[in-house]
């Protein structure tokens, strides 16, 4: 059977034929032949496509593009764009689809799926499907052909760095644990993905658990570990379930347990479920938690590589780091190192959220710009509003303004811009977002999650939060900004773990890039984004008001007065700034100042 890469449905509805449909069809067939596409594109008659109101129309599959209002003149252009260049011709898209095409994910040319390659493609509860996609072949190669040092060399040449956020070279971490004395050695997978807005690891664990297991087994072989733990947060029950199924199947096939691949290498993995504590994503806190203690961090050194779980040498990597390993072995270090920037190789998964059209999970090579992520992969800002900031790196990351949109993304560039890579959450904010409010929001989070062990973090975050809340409530005073800066500096330099060191970042970055907004709140008692309730006023513009009484009837506190057909007035002393009047007004007469 001939294989066509594209199918074009042509509507032969009588109304379409009346409007010269058949001539358009002939022109289409002729042009396809002219361009030598007859063996690639098939045209099929169909009785009807849409409502037939817009003139001759076609539907192109697999893309699902619906073009309407075609004339014979338009055909060469459409054939060229759609079938030769492979891009949609927006001009002729059906009106309903035009909107939808913008909602749908933009062409994914900028995405490269390494870690997410199997996600949504295979059944995660069936190991055979993973094996069908060349699963466990890297492991077989490693165990039967490579020495431990050879594996280290490959990982070193690939340039892989820890995907948990800090970006420490993976091979170096492995080498330290390999060289450490002490037995047994442990291997941990950090699956305590706690950053709000980040869910890349959840997806990998739920959708392709074997890629993580295979990466762990290869790492265990390399460093000589005999027992592995996956520390997975309790908020991910399905990930825990899928992992346990995957581990069971791997054991049945002898890929975990004693004498893997008939050699004398033995290794097994156990899932440890967290109990809800953000700080456990920090590696020393995670170790405490695996040992059955309060998940509090402890000072380093000693590093886990020499003294980790139960005081033994322990290697900890993140889910995404392990999931990269089989691919590096399978395709080679050069292939991996060909993607990315000089210092950051390969791809990175991000969870795109907030005011962007296409939210969800993406995987892009390092070096891509923030603009490409927001506007090409993410499809731009929702409701076509203006871009204000992008928050990267989770709650301890920073907010970057539009002037950083052309920044190529890698570990160093984000850090030098005052943000960080973190685990890969990205929250996009539109022009209506108040940056002081956002800083307060993140501070609320870190303040609540501070484990309380050291004073700068425990008390300092609380003080910052109090000041920010005061500023948002319209009670900011001269000197607040300076106090905030001092507190941030002290917390960052005196805290024990990454949570405390990073906690002030949202405040520092917003102070740096959006200082004017803080000043407007404090000195002018105004919220430029018009979100802080204490600083905004609702007013009725007499020019637009027709006196329809709609607002007065809907006001929950009866703050609006006025007779029918007369201009209405809002009493600011009674108004609770709920915004209902603005929502119900049909004449755009309610304004926020």
């Amino acid at each position: 059977m001939a294989y066509f890469r594209s199918h074009v449905l042509f509507s032969t509805d009588p109304t379409i034929v009346e409007q010269g449909g058949m001539q358009v069809k002939e022109a289409l067939l002729k042009e396809i032949k002219n361009k030598n596409l007859s063996e690639e594109v098939e045209v099929i008659d169909t009785p009807r496509i849409g409502d037939s109101k817009h003139g001759p129309e076609i539907m192109v599959y697999p893309e699902g593009y619906h073009y309407v209002g075609l004339t014979t003149k338009d055909i060469p252009f459409i054939v060229e764009e759609q079938f030769l260049k492979g891009r949609p011709v927006e001009k002729f898209l059906a009106p309903a689809l035009k909107e939808k095409a913008q909602e749908l994910r933009a062409p994914t040319a900028k995405e490269v799926r390494v870690v997410l390659r199997n996600c949504g493609k295979i059944n995660p509860e069936n190991i055979e499907e993973y094996i069908a996609e060349n699963g466990y072949e890297a492991l077989a190669k490693v165990i039967t052909d490579y020495s431990q040092d050879e594996v280290l060399e490959i990982i070193k040449a690939s340039g892989l760095r820890g995907r948990g956020g800090a970006g420490f070279p993976t091979w170096l971490k492995w080498d330290l644990t390999k060289k450490a004395t002490g037995s047994p050695k442990y291997l941990i997978c950090n699956a305590d993905e706690g950053d709000p807005g980040a869910f890349m690891n959840r997806s990998v664990l739920e959708s392709d658990p074997h890629s993580v297991l295979e990466g762990m087994i290869i790492a265990a072989y390399t460093i000589g570990a005999s027992q592995g733990y996956i520390y997975c947060r309790a908020e991910y029950p399905i990930a825990v379930k899928t992992l346990n199924i995957a581990i069971g199947q791997a054991r049945e096939y002898g890929l975990l347990g004693n004498n893997i691949f008939g050699t004398d290498f033995s290794f097994d993995i156990e899932v440890r479920k967290g109990a809800g504590a953000f700080v456990c994503g920090e590696e020393t806190a995670l170790i405490s938690s695996i040992e059955g203690k309060r998940g509090e961090p402890y000072p380093k050194p000693p590093f886990p590589a020499t003294q980790g779980v139960f005081g033994k040498p322990t290697n900890i990597n993140n889910v995404e780091t392990y999931a990269n390993i089989p691919q590096i072995i399978f395709h080679g270090a050069d292939w991996f190192a060909s993607m990315g920037t000089e210092k950051s190789k390969g791809t990175k998964t991000f969870a795109l959220a907030g005011d962007v059209k296409q939210t969800g999970l993406i995987e892009v090579p390092f070096g891509i710009t923030l603009r490409e992520i927001v506007f090409d992969v993410g499809g731009g800002i929702k409701n076509d509003k203006g871009f204000k900031a992008i928050q990267t790196g989770g709650p301890m990351g920073g907010c970057l303004p539009a002037s950083f949109l052309d920044l190529p993304v890698d570990y160093e560039s984000l850090t030098s811009a005052g943000s960080m890579m973190g685990s890969g959450g990205m929250v996009v904010m539109d022009e209506d977002t108040c940056m002081v409010d956002i800083a307060r929001f993140f501070m609320e989070f870190t303040q609540a999650e501070s484990c309380g062990k050291c004073v700068p973090c425990r008390v300092g975050t609380k003080r910052i939060l109090e000041i920010l809340t005061r500023i948002c409530d319209g009670e900011g005073k001269d000197g607040d900004i300076e106090t905030l800066e001092e507190l941030c500096k002290d917390i960052m330099s005196n805290s024990l773990c990454g949570l405390g060191k990073g906690a002030p970042n949202p405040v520092v970055s917003t102070l740096k890039h959006f200082r004017d907004e803080y000043e407007a709140h404090i000195f002018e008692k105004k919220c430029p984004a018009k979100t802080c309730k204490a600083l905004i006023h609702y007013e009725i513009n007499p020019e637009n008001c027709v006196g329809c009484t709609m607002c007065a009837r809907n006001c929950p506190v009866n703050a609006i007065t006025g007779s029918p057909k007369q201009t209405h007035v809002i009493n600011p002393d009674i108004c609770i700034r709920c915004g209902i009047c603005k929502q119900v007004c049909n004449y755009e007469a309610v304004e926020v100042t």
Partner: protein, 159 residues
């Protein structure tokens, strides 16, 4: 209403069961506490004492671990626990309105349990479902893309 002894028997059984499942290993303290918490709905003082005896670890240690983690509760919770995600991505997606609607529907504030013991309303750390936010979990069931209109219907599913 269950009598005092019935409650004690339930607690004793739950602790015994959890200790056996995890072979009384000290490092399994968190899984043991989680299991008892799941079976009883919370961790009563008696249970903490029994676990301390069973594992031969100080009571202070058991108590300090039980009070550290969000998923463990030392207070009794309602028959149905609503965990609402109030993190930034859900907040941006309109979580505030849903939170108000939940508080109104259950007549509770964050962390409270209704007098008839039906509902507990608590906030949770990020569930990683940001793309379908706002999100909540009732007992084990996840609900995404929440709107104010959906709340009464969802809560109505629970007796």
């Amino acid at each position: 209403m269950a009598s005092r002894t019935e409650i004690t028997i339930r607690v004793t059984d739950a602790v015994k069961d959890a200790l056996e499942t995890y072979e009384k290993k000290e490092e399994e303290l968190i899984p043991i506490l989680s299991k008892v918490n799941r079976d009883l709905g919370f961790l009563p003082q008696e249970a903490l004492e029994l676990i301390s005896d069973g594992l031969k670890v100080p009571k202070s240690r058991v108590k300090s671990v039980a009070s550290f983690y969000h998923m463990l509760s030392t207070k009794p919770l309602g028959r149905h626990v609503i965990r609402f995600c109030e993190n930034a991505p859900c907040h941006v997606a309109g979580g505030g309105e849903i939170w108000s609607a939940l508080k109104e529907a259950t007549n509770l504030q964050a962390g409270e349990t209704s007098p008839d013991g039906k509902w507990s309303l608590i906030t949770t750390s990020c569930l990683g479902l940001c793309a379908v936010g706002p999100v909540m979990v009732v007992d084990g069931d996840v609900y995404g893309n929440l709107t104010v209109d959906k709340i009464p219907e969802i809560l109505g599913r629970y007796e």
